[in-house]
């Protein structure tokens, strides 16, 4: 299975509804400094249930929601929806397409969705755990963090391998 679409609306700099359709092979994201490239990477980590805001370059839920500018009012919520093509059954769930969603509001509340049904975070974690996506240490490498896998102490590196096991 692989990623098919990512839809963002109100997530960080993606104030307008934005849709990415990914290649089965390699999709490149390019653009000037500060345009929002790393925000896309953050959104993938976020929609998969990430709770550690330090890994999302923020401190709290509100940092995920478009904060507005002189020309555009701030958003009331942030939402992301990621859709996997599961025709090959790689994800342990009997749908040929699996979509995971997350919405967050300025009061700090978060909602999670699995194929349009509202679920708990636990359900998302459980599903991702079964397909090697719960830890995400070597599946999402943030900017400037590529050699952090090397700077880990030997016992910390062990965790990488346990995750892959």
């Amino acid at each position: 299975s692989h990623l098919k679409y990512l839809e963002l609306h109100g997530y960080k700099t993606f104030a307008s509804k934005t849709r990415f359709e990914f290649a089965e092979g390699i999709t490149a994201i390019v653009g000037p400094n500060g345009s929002g490239k790393s925000n896309v990477a953050d959104s993938i980590r976020w929609v998969l249930g990430e709770q550690a805001y330090a890994l999302l370059r923020g401190k709290k839920t509100e940092d995920m929601i478009f904060s507005g500018s002189e020309q555009r009012p701030r958003a009331g919520m942030a939402s992301a929806l990621i859709t996997f093509d599961n025709a090959d059954g790689g994800l342990p769930i009997e749908f040929s397409e699996v979509s995971i969603g997350r919405s967050a509001y300025r009061d700090g509340s978060n909602e999670y969705f699995l194929n349009d049904a509202r679920v708990r975070l636990k359900d998302i974690d459980e599903l991702l755990g079964r397909c090697g996506l719960s830890e995400r240490t070597y599946t999402i490498i943030g900017q400037g963090l590529v050699d952090s896998a090397l700077s880990l102490k030997p016992e910390e590196r062990r965790r990488l391998f346990e995750e892959a096991a």
Partner: protein
């Protein structure tokens, strides 16, 4: 748990030297289990021998050599236990031309089994992509995204 860990370690330790040599165009590398002494089980030591040089610890590697060694580890983990996708955000920032070329070639090869989403400023890397998204910042501080064809991207980027 130990069994699964042991199995994975052995498989990655086999893959890592091969991928390292492909990325560096030579040299050799090794993963080894070390006893951390604090009972938390073994840690993992990495030694790298760059083409023509002596084997050395990680501390002496240059910026680009460190990035490439880290990529070799990540690619080995992906090869042994593939995940549906992998996101790489400017992992090629410190690489020189020839290392970027080898990185791109290996990325292309691995993309047959793992899907990659890669953020990069490097034209050589973009050329490996089937789909390119150009992100820009509007005057309203919101991102806009357009899908680019490779020739459009090349035309947009002045000679570095």
């Amino acid at each position: 748990m130990q069994n699964a860990f042991q199995k994975t370690f052995t498989a990655v330790a086999e893959e890592f030297p091969k991928i390292f040599v492909r990325l560096f165009g030579g040299g050799s590398a090794k993963l080894a289990l070390t006893d951390t002494g604090d009972g938390s089980g073994e840690g993992i030591d990495i030694t790298a021998k760059l083409p023509g040089k002596r084997s050395q610890g990680l501390a002496l590697l240059s910026g680009g050599e460190r990035s490439l060694t880290a990529v070799a580890l990540i690619f080995s983990l992906l090869k042994v236990s593939p995940t549906p996708f992998c996101v790489l955000d400017e992992v090629d920032a410190m690489l020189d031309e020839s290392n970027v070329g080898r990185f791109r070639d290996l990325l292309l090869e691995l993309s047959r089994q793992t899907q990659f989403i890669i953020v990069t400023h490097n034209r050589n890397t973009v050329q490996a992509a089937q789909v390119i998204y150009g992100v820009s910042m509007g005057s309203d501080s919101a991102s806009t995204v357009i899908s680019l064809k490779l020739d459009e991207f090349v035309a947009q980027t002045p000679d570095e």
